[in-house]
Assembly symmetry: D2
Homo-oligomer: 135 residues x 4
């Protein structure tokens, strides 16, 4: 298992007139956290695209337990629960400053060759990076 | 069962550098479609808030089958599969111009009294509006 | 002079915790309105990109007179005040349902060849389309 | 004069299909930077709203010199050029990692009493905070 934590400050733009973070904006928090997870692993996501590989999202689940509010400093925990081969599972736990779990989510992503649109398996260099966490 | 269809044109702002609609933006399409569904029923969602009732989202599931792209004219079908009592289930099907199902989702919403934060059951006037579709 | 009007319904996602449309979101309304203006002229903006031409924004000015709110049906008037040659000026006036001018803006866009990043002058077929409005 | 610098990482969500940061998203970067400027001054913007004061934007100007791209680590410099009395002027300079100025903007904000909608002058405690920078 691989885990990583990223702190994200809620912007005014993220709120809606309920005073909550708009329910669609957690997708951005998840994205920012998983980007930083990749960077922490030494394999910036940007490099994948430079190599002609895209990583679209296939599914997302989100559960909203408590609202996040403007200026909250959230902690987004990213969990990769299993060795990524054909698909990448990322689970997310969002905590507020009182360390209460306010939101939980999961996404499945796949790798696609940009030019051919063909689904790829996890490249060897990425596999090597993940291997130590799943042995 | 109640169903409703809303057409939505993809904005440039909605796309990302893959040339796809960003995966988090479907939440906005779902919201726009369910707002219009409420209006079509003769009960604008805005009225709920005027009465001091909020309708936060409790969970969302999204499955991405094919990308939507800039300027696509999408059809978002909203389905209310069961009579809303304590919770409101909305299912969504997103079709492109070739009538291919490219995205599918589901959200569960609840009613909350704004001042007390207490969960409410479906008000009688709303129940009367929904009743004919679930008999 | 060329003018065009587009109606836009404010989404919940567009609001912030003040209960106003977030100040950055007018850029999306402007974009949607100018896209529809191009379509009305018979030259969908999408076609430009298909021909390898991009149209980035060089400057934007926005003045906020009154807030727009959730579910408001806004009218965005697009004005092209002069024949576009090297640059495209678009002015915008946003009216609420009471026909009060609540927001005003202006953007300058240029044409760029995607592969070379070179600035282009207005292509002849586009010029022919605009000519009748500026004679 | 008061100046402050905030680093912001470009999210995938911020890009559009040109591969640029969407032109409307700089408003969010400006907002995030000025929020952090207030915090650095020891007067979190959130406190204003707790005291029943809102700070809506009256005007915004943006000039786009070069695109920002996915994963760029931008530096947003906030400049308060004059002592805020009835209105708050914030200027912004956005630099990329090569320290090139890629974007420049300015916003004017005012203070409004939430309940009465009346425009307020800068409260004394805020004035005291700003005074040392404008003497």
């Amino acid at each position: 298992m691989f885990t990583f934590e990223k702190q994200i400050r809620v912007r005014y733009a993220d709120t809606d007139q309920m005073g909550y973070v708009y329910y669609g904006n957690y997708a951005q928090y998840y994205e920012e956290a998983r980007t930083e997870a990749f960077r922490a692993l030494g394999y910036p996501y940007k490099n994948l695209e430079t190599e002609g590989i895209m990583m679209p999202v296939r599914s997302m689940n989100v559960r909203y337990y408590m609202p996040a509010r403007y200026d909250d400093l959230l902690t987004v925990k990213v969990i990769i629960p299993e060795m990524p081969l054909a698909k990448f599972i990322f689970d997310y736990e969002v905590y507020n400053e009182e360390k209460i779990l306010i939101n939980q989510g999961s996404t499945i992503l796949v790798l696609i060759e940009k030019n051919t649109n063909k689904i790829l398996r996890c490249p060897d260099d990425l596999k090597k990076i993940f291997a130590p966490y799943f042995s």
